[in-house]
Structure formats: C-alpha cells, structure tokens
C-alpha cells in the first residue's frame, strides 16, 4: 500500500502540535490544514503578510485583497493578523515559525534540500523557498518517495542545485516517515503492508531503522477520501 497525497498530508497533520505556527508550501502541504483535529489550534502563515489564515474562500465569497502565497483567494480565522513583507520574512528568517511544510525534488541523507530548480526548467524562480529552508526550525518535506520514472528522490547527495543545506528535519512520503538525525536518516514508519527493506530498496541514502519503527497508523479513507491505496 501507498499513501495518497491526502494520506501524506494527514500523516503530517497528526504530528503538528497545538500552538504551532506553520507555513504550508504549494501542493501536498496545502492539504495538511484539512486534516487538523479540532483539539489543536494552529496558526497558518503566508509569505505575503498573513498569519491566522483560514481555508480557501468558498466560491462567491472571495475577497480580492486576500490571497495566499499561491495567489488563491483565502479566508481569515479569528485572531489573525496582516503585516508587510518585511515583518513576514522576519518571522521566517528569525526562526519564529515552528514548521515549514514543503515539497521537494530531492532530499539528501544529511538533510540537504533541493526544490527550487527543476531539471528541464528554463526560467528560474526561487520565491520564499530559501528563506523558509534557512529560517524555520522544523522543515518537513512532503513528496512521493520516488520520481514518476521510479527513481529515488532520497539520495546520498542532491544532484540539483540546493535550496538549503542540512535543513530538512523530517521526510513524509507515500511510503515512509523518515527523520533526519545527526547520524543520518532514521526510518520511523513505513506504509501499511510494506517493511523497512522495501522502503530501503526505493531509497538511495542508507536508512537506520528506529527501535520502535512500525507501520503507519493511517485510516484507508476519511469522509470518502482515500488516504492509502
């Protein structure tokens, strides 16, 4: 079994503690907010000057002055705040955000992250990715474990230009939850039906196995949305 995109987001949501200040990147990370349980109060940050962002605006209720970093119309939750880019990136660079949930193209065993330059891309763009990678305490990556062509994305060393060196703390994929430690990668969980050897087979970097390494506890679906398939 593999986790779906929603399954990866669900697994991340389980790990975000109450009181976190979180920036969600584009793609799988944006789904994370849908899977938070109501016992947790978490504030979402957007680079363009928002803290306490709510879900995407329902059709017909959009406010033209309120978009997120992905230019989607969003909403605000009570207790939020607006500010400018200077203060927004002080929050990021100054280590005030607790979590940055990002997509990745490659992650290395030492926590190096590559997610800003795709191989075939001709016009480069970096946005706020480097500020997040360098500034936020917990950089958590969400991605498929291997490329469309089945090649590992968790490597001994990144081949693409780095977004940030040694910044990734955790990797959440469709196959595994891996922690980056000073001694290298530590496999903490694997998708239901797999085993550590199966994860290692799709991972170039060597994995140590946590003493309590176990299958992920992810339901097959929530409200009809499949989390694992």
């Amino acid at each position: 079994m593999k986790l779906t995109r929603d399954g990866i987001a669900y697994r991340v949501a389980c790990d975000l503690p109450n009181g976190s200040y979180v920036n969600l990147g584009i793609g799988i990370p944006t789904i994370v907010s849908s899977y938070l349980t109501p016992d947790k109060e978490i504030l979402f940050h957007s680079e363009n000057g928002i803290l306490g962002m709510g879900p995407v605006a329902a059709p017909g209720t959009e406010d033209v002055d309120l978009v997120n970093a992905g230019k989607e119309f969003v909403t605000m939750l009570p207790g939020g705040a607006f500010f400018d880019h200077s203060l927004s990136f002080s929050m990021i660079r100054g280590g005030h955000l607790t979590h940055s949930i990002l997509g990745a193209l490659e992650v290395a065993g030492n926590g190096d992250l590559a997610n800003w330059r795709t191989p075939g891309e001709k016009v480069p763009g970096v946005g706020g990715a480097m500020d997040l990678a360098f500034g936020v305490k917990n950089v958590w990556v969400t991605m498929t474990h291997v490329t469309n062509k089945g090649k590992p994305k968790i490597l001994k060393a990144c081949t693409l230009p780095l977004t940030g060196p040694r910044c990734v703390k955790r990797i959440y994929t469709d196959l595994a939850l891996i922690e980056v430690t000073p001694e290298g990668l530590l496999l903490r969980e694997f998708a239901p039906g797999l085993d550590p050897a199966a994860v290692q087979a799709q991972t170039e970097a060597p994995l140590r196995i946590a003493s309590d390494c176990s299958a992920m506890n992810v339901p097959e679906n929530i409200k009809g949305v499949p989390l694992a398939a």
Binding site: N48, G49, S86, M130, F134, P165
Partner: protein, 232 residues
C-alpha cells in the same frame, strides 16, 4: 498647504524618464498599482529596470509593459509564475536581464535602502547557487551572505485609502512589498482606491506615513479587481 494628490495616473507618471528603475509593489493582484503601470505603458516609456516579486501576468500592467518590450532588466524572486508568458519569452531569447533574489532578501534589501543602511548579512542562500560571487562571513558560528541595499528612482504602489499628505492605509493582504518600497525610492507614487480627508485615517491606522509618499492618485479599482466582499 501640502497637497500630494494628482488628478490622473497620466499626470502622476509624466515625469518618469526612459531608463528609470521602478519598484513595483503588489503580490498577485492585492496592492498591485496596475493603473499607474498602464499609464506608463501608454506614455511609451522604455528601457525600464523593474523590481517586483514576480514577472507580471497576461498582457495587462507589468505583463503588458514586458510584452511591449519596454523592460531591460527585472529583479524578482519568482519570475516563473505561470501567467508571466511575456517575460519568459523575452528571457529565453536573451532580450531581458534577470536578477534573481530570494523573496525575503528582496524585501530586506529594499528595507535597508529605505532605512539608510549600507547592507546586511543574511543566512538565506548561504552556500547555494544564489550566493555565488557574493561575500560570505561566518558570524557566531553560522554562515551569512552580504547583501547590499536596493534603491529605485520610483516606487509605484497601491493602497486602499490615502490622503493629501500621502498617508496610506492598506487592506488585508495589500501591504506586502508596498510598505518597504515606499521608503526606498527617490519618488513614491501611490494609486489609492479611496481618497479621504486629512484625519480620515486614524494615526493608529496609518501603515505608510506620508513622509514616504510623494504623489497620490485616486482612481477607481480596475474592473478586473472587483470587490466581492465590502471594503473596510
């Protein structure tokens, strides 16, 4: 009496010469001074260096200026946004220069110019491709990159409310780059949705004090920018 208001965008941008460096506020549509840019486009001003987070979208405002071949250089963090077709075409033909700056470094370089600083050390990008050729320094055990202030001849910004003294208040996510850019240009020109009398913005609610603003133009929102919920 101080009166910084101008009757039209055309008058407000009339003094912008060919070759000028222009900071352009906004992030997506919120806070984008699209009408000032359209006035500049009508005027035919060319050979411009633009400082903006993205590379414009479609063929309106910045997208239009780029499509018309008026831009010699863009300093941006995210010029690869899907709508920036005009820029991407020109860039691939080698007809426009690009300086790529991480978004937080872009904001901080602009702030440094406005705050009169000579530069700063930031951790962002240290050891990456974007730090190549830049001075680096280890401070208290961490590696930093030296970045210089970024100034412009003009800043074009958009606010929600403004008065004749140049005081501005933004709405929701409109502040973005507008507040720092207002401080870092020789001349700051603001497009405002509403012109209010002096005192109409409470001193607690002024986001950009008038000291940073030289010209204010009141102009109805662009039809593309329809307010769906009521404004504050």
């Amino acid at each position: 009496m101080i009166d910084k208001t101008f009757k039209s965008c055309e008058e407000a941008v009339a003094c912008v010469p060919d070759g000028a460096t222009i900071m352009l506020g906004g992030f997506g549509d919120p806070g984008l001074p699209g009408r000032l840019l359209e006035a500049l486009r009508q005027k035919g001003t060319k050979n411009l260096a633009i400082i903006h987070n993205g590379a414009g979208a479609g063929d309106w405002a910045l997208g239009g200026l780029i499509k018309d071949g008026r831009i010699r250089k863009l300093t941006a963090s995210f010029p690869c946004n899907p709508g920036a077709i005009a820029f991407q075409e020109l860039y691939l033909k080698g007809q426009v220069e690009l300086e790529l700056v991480p978004q937080g470094t872009l904001a901080e370089r602009i702030r440094a110019a406005g705050a009169g600083l000579g530069g700063f050390f930031t951790p962002t990008a240290a050891g990456t491709e974007l730090a190549k050729g830049k001075e680096s320094r280890v401070i208290d055990g961490r590696e930093y990159v030296f970045e210089k202030p970024l100034r412009a001849d003009f800043a074009f910004i958009r606010a929600h409310r403004g008065d004749r003294l140049g005081n501005l208040a933004f709405r929701k996510a409109m502040r973005n780059f507008n507040m720092v850019m207002a401080t870092a240009a020789e001349m700051t020109i603001a497009e405002v949705d509403k012109l209010v009398p002096v005192g109409g913005i409470d001193p607690e609610d002024v986001h950009t004090p008038g000291i940073f603003v030289d010209r204010v133009v009141h102009i109805a929102r662009h039809p593309k920018l329809v307010e769906i919920t009521g404004p504050k």
